[in-house]
Assembly symmetry: D2
Homo-oligomer: 348 residues x 4
């Protein structure tokens, strides 16, 4: 940490700051400039946090020089991690395709979407049973019935399932069905939920808050990690900006930035970023090319009847091109498309 | 609703849309332009939502022309509402001062802060027992012990208490102590929590999401209202923008805009908006002047020791000016400062 | 300046940075921490800028600790300045009302708008002859003919005039008519224009860029000041955010923040911020209350016929309330409404 | 256009709107709903603009249903255009690499950077002689001397040159040296400059405003096109958001969105988007993959000595990978890397 003293700070102010830092077991190095004095702090940042240095007389600014997350930081864990979901890896050597319907509506729709996903090369199935919706008048998901449908489709297709949980107290229920728990963009700072999924013993996909910084996203991951769960996959899904041509602005830079700060895998959701079907394939290509460890994509057999986010779901005609992207682009980055290494016991 | 057809839409496409609308019990009026056709829809918007009109062939855009909230809308309830907390009104005739410590730390600190608040004219006490913190390494609040301290200080000062709840399953516990439940900015789209506070039988203060639109904020209020609770006070607390000189950007325009769209009272939090002590009084003046129905302000007897947001808490020297603002500005808007109409049984 | 070395920086890297700083005549103080080393720099920031310290091996971050503007900074000029336009002061003791039509359209419309402005208490007349418009198909202003109309109305009403200049090469022409030159939000980083108005010998009103930080705004003011012109008034006019209910988001906090960083007066434009007539008066109250040194407001005798921004212009019925705000609010801040101290030679 | 009447609008209000539209030669179709009436307008949008419909009594909202740009719109020009600079195409069949130093500093530095660019496969040379800088204390470019250096390097390398112009009155000078004129992000709404480059008879690269919407960007292009110049290349260079980990947020979605709305080529600047060397290659891959028609990249022989934006310039070690990206990725999109079809007369 670095403390910048105000131009009008007195020698007493400086002495007091130094004493305060010493009282917390830290060391303070004072550098006097022409118009300002700066004080470098050596010691444990958390310790200093409780000192409220910013509130001391004569202090103009306090600047942090190290990251506020530890377990998920790459500083102490330079090798990038691979998370396994069922037998499917998500990590630096592969590019994983996760696909499925935005919301589980019927057994038939879910099975058809899963078959579409699998045909395009997906090795994990996405599908929402609990849907957080901005409007209380919108379809809220089938709940446990949706989970049962997903489990049934998993048996029929061999695809492990990724599904969202929106309330801390539903975690045990959802974890009893799911292979991977998803925390959505509206819950990235729902700390009770983060702690609950941290304790659930299942891999977690943590979406970035729609207006969350990369640093906040990693602090949210730290909440999960603190409960002993490091099987976390970060998912960039677009941020809120002034541009209204797209539902959100996909921040592709977040992938290399987060991969440099953290050892966790980072994937991209091209469907929710743009919110438009015609953008899904271009953004999928960009996602793989920028170095994402996977993509998660909405598909629907009949998007015009979808109860949720139909306008962005890929349809049959797009799948061949999706399959081609997943086959041709990863090799250019020295990667392979992720397969289910555990084998699949059931044919479609 | 208005449907804009693409320039290349065919007559068949148009006929199909009209038939689809009719199938849902609506009426469609077709206006043919030189380069485009538009179709006006008459009927229930919710009904049309399930038609996925945006997904139909030939449809370029679907535009909503009415608001997506009903119970909190001013359309059907033109008179602005007054919410009562204990005996204290929050509404169009008054300006209510809510003050207290950001976090409850000790009985002594809470009592002193409450006395400061009262001396400045506050008629409601704020104080956090459950604190949602971005970093898992930051102070998380005292929990139920904090609620007991608040209840004790209420008895000593006569000030009804406003406190945050962060998990749906804590609502009964918090509601058993609090006079008003606060939903924080990170939980504005935690729908399980919104529904739980909607069913708790206590007034609710709903903060705006730090990157939530005014419309989304009102839809979140609608979630609460749907459970039968219309005692909702909206609280603007700054939004996230590119500007970094302040922690958030206080959106004062949100007050008149929300008051025009909804009958609910709207207050402002000048402490969390700016995140800087030197901005609290100027922003409080702006809040009252723009027409806010109240303000909620952090005070702390010893901010340099505060465990949470010390840099923005007002200190003793500021209170006289705060009291003056609350006394002199409301009359210029034809309002009075809100008193506790139930009377206060205990002197300080 | 403070340099933060990367965890993997070697002793050589550190030595090299120290030598580089010394080569530029500066001093470097090294503080070694457990995981990182930080280096404090003493000397002239501009000097160090050319060293490209950020590009040195082992450097993780370079943090500036002083402001990048000098002439407009309050550090070296603690007393806040008053700028005089004609005989009208804009500064810390007064609140100045500037009003008039968004665009000059006809002599009659301009005169009527000026009379409305004066009746509401305005002592300066605004009016655009050169209009920068986002669409090439929108009305672009009357040019010099508009300036002549303004000069004529000044003679008839005694109100000094404020008008926008959009091209560096029009500055002499516009300055030959105007009492104050306005630089608009789209030109805040048009550096040729800033330098030209800096050399024109007339007071300048510098609008904040619609997505400019406060720091960038002050650096733009520094461009003007460098040419010897310190008669600069800063004007906050709303910034671009994700919220679409208002045209821009008025950042009232920018007033106290800019007043603390700079000695220049700061005013607010409530008309362009909200872009809606119903917001102008509430935002004007907020502007005065937050401590703005003035407000600039659109008025139009027949807004339904306005060629530019009609929807936000105040009409006759609003003027009485505007006059009341300008009369009643400033005294609560220890200010008076600004009068024309030079006297006015012409009655209306 | 569609007019939405307020719920309280009277029959008279509706009649008046219809009459007003008719007076401008348009037709109005009225659709009465349960709570609101909407009016569809048929005719020329520009005509209606002058009616100030939004200002009419009873009007709640006016919604545009067609685009406000014509010459650059794809509606009337469905085939995507190719712009030629020297003999080098920028368009849908190729991916063009433009590279060079951010700023021209010396003949030697410029030549070395050009040779680096060419070795990486660049067929156009970028380099700034006139630099718009946020701080008046930063290096402002060499001016005409820089243009002469560029012309000299063009002769030595055969690379046509792209260089920025920042003032309308410098356009003839810059155009006398340059093969393509660049309009920078701070000048995207400097309309005098747009019109001047529109009349200069040279291809133009128009950067997106750092907080400009895609629609505003296309309207700025329309300003250029109106002067008879349709040789315009759009360049996405990152937008301003709340995220501070990168200098700007590269909006890759803008490429397919702009390509769908306009027939003009769209390229990406990965250097200025991220502002960090380690992001340039990942963002270049994303740019090509999303479908950009080219990329423009900073290279510098000695970035640690660069007078401008050194931290983001690619160095020798990166060039091989850049060359590989430009060779291997375009074929996956059915494109080739753009060559100089005019041939190059001078070897390096």
């Amino acid at each position: 940490m670095v403390i910048v003293m105000a131009p009008e700070a007195t020698q007493e102010d400086i002495t007091e700051v130094v004493a305060l830092v010493a009282s917390a077991g830290g060391e303070a190095f004072v550098s006097r400039g022409v118009s300002r004095t700066i004080i470098g702090l050596i010691g444990d940042v958390e310790q200093f946090a409780s000192l409220n240095l910013r509130g001391q007389r004569g202090v103009a600014d306090v600047m942090r020089v190290s990251t506020p997350f530890k377990l998920v930081s790459r500083d102490n864990h330079p090798v990038r991690s691979t998370v396994r979901v069922g037998g499917v890896p998500i990590g630096p050597d592969t590019v994983t395709l996760i696909a499925g319907p935005c919301a589980v509506e019927t057994p038939q729709q879910t099975l058809e979407a899963a078959q579409m996903a699998k045909a395009a090369g997906a090795t994990l199935l996405r599908g929402g049973a609990f849907k957080p919706r901005t409007s209380p008048y919108a379809f809220q998901g089938l709940g446990e019935q949706g989970l049962r449908i997903l489990a049934d489709v998993r048996e029929k297709t061999g695809l492990p399932i990724v599904t969202e949980v929106v309330d801390a107290h539903d975690v045990p229920l959802v974890a009893s069905y799911a292979d991977m728990l998803q925390v959505g963009t509206r819950n990235t700072q729902n700390f009770a939920l983060l702690q609950a999924v941290g304790a659930a013993g299942k891999p977690v996909m943590l979406k970035r808050g729609m207006s969350g910084t990369i640093e906040e996203w990693l602090m949210s991951a730290e909440y999960i990690a603190q409960r002993g769960n490091l099987d976390i996959v970060l998912c960039e899904r677009g941020i809120r900006t002034f541009e209204t041509a797209t539902r959100n602005t996909l921040d592709v830079s977040a992938v290399p930035v987060a991969q440099r700060l953290s050892h966790l895998p980072v994937i991209i959701d091209p469907s929710h970023s743009g919110g438009r079907r015609d953008l899904v394939l271009p953004l999928t290509r960009a996602a793989v090319a920028v170095g994402a460890d996977g993509v998660i994509i909405d598909v629907h057999p009949h998007p015009e009847q979808a109860l949720c986010d139909g306008p962005q779901a890929l349809v049959d005609g797009d799948l061949e091109e999706l399959a081609r992207i997943m086959r041709d682009f990863p090799p250019l980055l020295g990667r392979t498309q992720a397969a289910n290494l555990a084998g699949e016991s059931v044919a479609v």
